[in-house]
Amino acid sequence: MKDDQFIIGILVDNAAGVLTRVSSLFTRRGFNIDSLTVGTTEDPRYSRITISAHGDDAIRKQIIKQVRKLYNVKEVKILPVDNSVKRELALIKLRNKPQTRNDILSAVDIFRCKIVDFSPNTLCVEITGNSSKIDAFITVVKPLGILELCRTGVTALERGCIYLNSETKTFEEICEQEKGEE
């Protein structure tokens, strides 16, 4: 029973109040959310919520079963750690001083992120990657003077021909369909 972090993909009705229902379930049952992202999907009927949470095996199973009971939830799944693409984006505003500018630029280079705003006193970095990469970058630039910071939280997709939405056509089905159209 390890107290591991895990990522849950949830496909929900694209309707008002659904996010409240999902997040209030976590509060009510005492499950911890590390991050939560939500947005539209390829199918306008559904939104996709990605929740990063932690807890032992029993908690993980309970979360899935409780979330599945919500009327607006269509699909819910723990995304396998070793077979998923996980990304988070952060915007970090730093002090723009001649003494530290080179350190910042080399960190930006090493972490392969971008400078998206530059003003006489501040500059803003956009960094994308998994959460630990962003953590590492923040550690490096912290002494250089972080003025403001925001992170999106993790969003994730499973690799290969595996879809959260069970209605999504498989690769073979799409090929069949295209053949028919030709």
Binding site: G17, T20, R21, S24, L25, R28, A58, K61, Q62, K65, Q66, R68, K69, L70, Y71, N72
Partner: protein, 560 residues
């Protein structure tokens, strides 16, 4: 046919088989009440004294009939007054549809007069809820609400209907009664695993909960118990699923359960949980719960499996089907040593009972036995919450499912009188309500409803002048600091009955017991009986909080 939203609401309720609705009018449901007025010959509305009473009545109606209970309230305070009733239904998995009015869509969010976000408030205490924004969606929303309420593990659903949706007009076409959603079948290999575990056990124990009643699985449970030679114990919510006449039935287990039932559970090597959820009141300290037992947990709600207690085998699905499948393959067996041990436990329980009771005092069990003499097996018995509830659960002998109506999970004091109204209307039978002076005080305004309906409800108030259950805890675990539990009120319940237009009686001692109970039970209309019992009477056995079944308190303190 073009109808208003209010008319559509009423027509859809009727279409879905609703015969009775409970409720209370108000500003934002005037249109709905106008539609009810027009349809008065096809749907019966029961006006209660308070929305909370209406919500408990709809709950009691649903528990007694198995049908969806319907309650209507206005926006704002009307809606918030339903909250306790909805939460009560939610915790005990009762199918209910609550309809609230709200201010017009354009007025929402402006803190308008009597505006609350009732869907926001009731998210955690409903299976699902809706706010209807367009009259075109109304009929289907109500149908979906009925389907959600009665499918799978039943529960309450709330529909909030803004005023402009009630007045809006659209085409309406009646549809069929919605079917319950199909449930996935229990997995076959799991049924086989269960049969193997049963074969290997020597001390099996069948532990049933409210799900056994919902699933109508009484017969299957009894057959399985006979086949594998196992005793049956029940949670509070499971009572009435199995007749007390069944010699295998040990009664309620748990915090105030029967000694034999609790101890057998503690000593079992296999617990087969059927539609029960291992509530803390049923298990005591979970870390010490039934350590010798393997656990098979069958429940329609898969989230219950491994929620409170880690099971060795979880089977999701309909209980009745799971048990039928199990009965096809399970091997009949005998557990002779276990049977002997169970007899021993039953004897011990009987001895404790004899030591605890006396012949001359007006003891709760004596009252319950006396009342039972005048009841038939179909009569609903309703309770409030507290000591009297536990005594009824322990001593009343139930024979048929859905005859015991009580607030289990939420433990709602004030539930009883409203629920009794609902049960009485659902069954058309004389209904017995056991209550305490504390619980009764909470919603006694519903006497007005009982009296107006002239409903044959016989109310027995176990009046000890104290909040007995909390006092019992204070007595046993809080150094007899009776903080705010001595009511010491001047209420004369007999006069109160008279004021509300009911017959009132009082039983002050054991000698008066049989005559007065007989008189009360033979009245045609509603009756209230004020029964003066001793304030220091305890509910025993008792599992101390945080304790295990080894710590069970069984005997009254020796006064010397």
């Amino acid at each position: 046919m073009k109808l208003t939203g209010a008319q559509i609401t009423v027509e859809t309720l009727i279409e879905q088989g609703t015969e009775v609705v409970f409720g209370y009018p108000g500003g934002q449901v005037i249109d709905l009440y106008d539609a009810l007025y027009q349809a008065g010959d096809r749907i019966h509305h029961v006006l209660t004294a308070h929305e909370q009473g209406a919500s408990h009545a709809a709950d009691g109606y649903a528990r007694s009939s198995g049908k969806v209970g319907v309650v209507i309230a206005t926006s704002g305070p009307g809606a918030t007054n339903l909250v306790t009733g909805i939460a009560t239904a939610h915790l005990d998995s009762t199918p209910m549809v609550a309809i609230t009015g709200n201010v017009s869509n354009a007025m929402i969010g402006r803190d308008s007069f009597q505006e609350v976000d009732i869907t926001g408030i009731t998210i955690p205490i409903t299976k699902h809820n809706f706010i209807v924004k367009h009259v075109e969606d109304l009929a289907d929303t109500i149908r979906t609400a009925f389907q959600i309420a009665k499918s799978g593990r039943p529960g309450p659903v709330l529909i909030d209907i803004p005023k402009d949706v009630q007045t809006g007009i659209c085409e309406f076409e009646a549809a069929d009664v919605v079917e319950k959603e199909k449930q996935r079948l229990p997995k076959e290999f799991k049924i086989r695993l269960a049969a193997n575990m049963i074969r290997e056990s020597q001390r099996p124990y069948i532990y049933i909960g409210g799900g056994a009643i919902t699933a109508k699985a009484s017969q299957e449970i009894e057959e399985l118990a006979d086949c594998i030679d196992a005793p049956i114990g029940s949670t509070l919510m499971g009572l009435s699923a199995i007749s007390h006449e069944n010699p295998r039935f040990l009664g309620m287990e748990g915090m105030h359960g029967h000694y034999a039932s609790s101890m057998a559970q503690n000593e079992a090597d296999l617990i087969l949980a059927v539609g029960a959820r291992f509530s803390d009141r049923a298990t005591g300290n979970v870390s010490k719960y039934a350590k010798k037992a393997k656990i098979i947990h069958i429940d329609i709600d898969r989230a219950e499996v491994d929620k409170n207690i880690a099971s060795d085998l979880g089977i999701g699905g309909d209980l009745k089907i799971a048990l039928q499948e199990l009965l096809k393959i399970v091997e009949p067996k005998k557990n002779l040593e276990w049977d002997q041990r169970l007899d021993e436990l039953r004897r011990e329980e009987q001895e404790q009972f004899q030591k605890n009771c006396s012949d001359d005092l007006l003891e709760p069990y004596a009252l319950i036995h006396e009342v039972q003499k005048h009841t038939d097996p179909d009569m609903p018995v309703v309770t409030d919450v507290g000591q009297h509830q536990m005594w009824v659960a322990q001593y009343y002998r139930f024979h048929k499912p859905r005859t015991f109506i009580t607030s289990g999970g939420l433990g709602t004091m004030g539930f009883g009188l409203g629920a009794a109204i609902g049960s009485c209307l659902a069954t058309g039978k004389k209904t017995v309500l056991f209550t305490g002076d504390g619980s009764f005080g909470m919603n006694l305004n519903e006497l007005a409803t009982v009296s107006k309906l002239n409903a044959p409800i016989v109310i027995f108030i176990m009046n000890n002048g104290v909040l007995g259950m909390v006092r019992q805890w204070q007595n046993l675990f809080y150094h007899k600091h009776y903080s705010q539990t001595t009511l010491d009120r001047k209420t004369d319940f007999v006069k109160l009955a008279d004021a509300f237009g009911l017959k009132g009686y009082r039983i002050s001692n054991r000698e008066e017991l049989s005559d007065v109970v007989a008189k009360a039970m033979n009245e045609d209309g509603p009756v209230l009986v004020d029964c003066l019992i001793d304030k220091d009477e305890l509910v025993l056995p008792m599992l101390p909080p945080g304790g295990s079944f080894d710590d069970i308190i069984t005997l009254k303190e020796d006064p010397s």
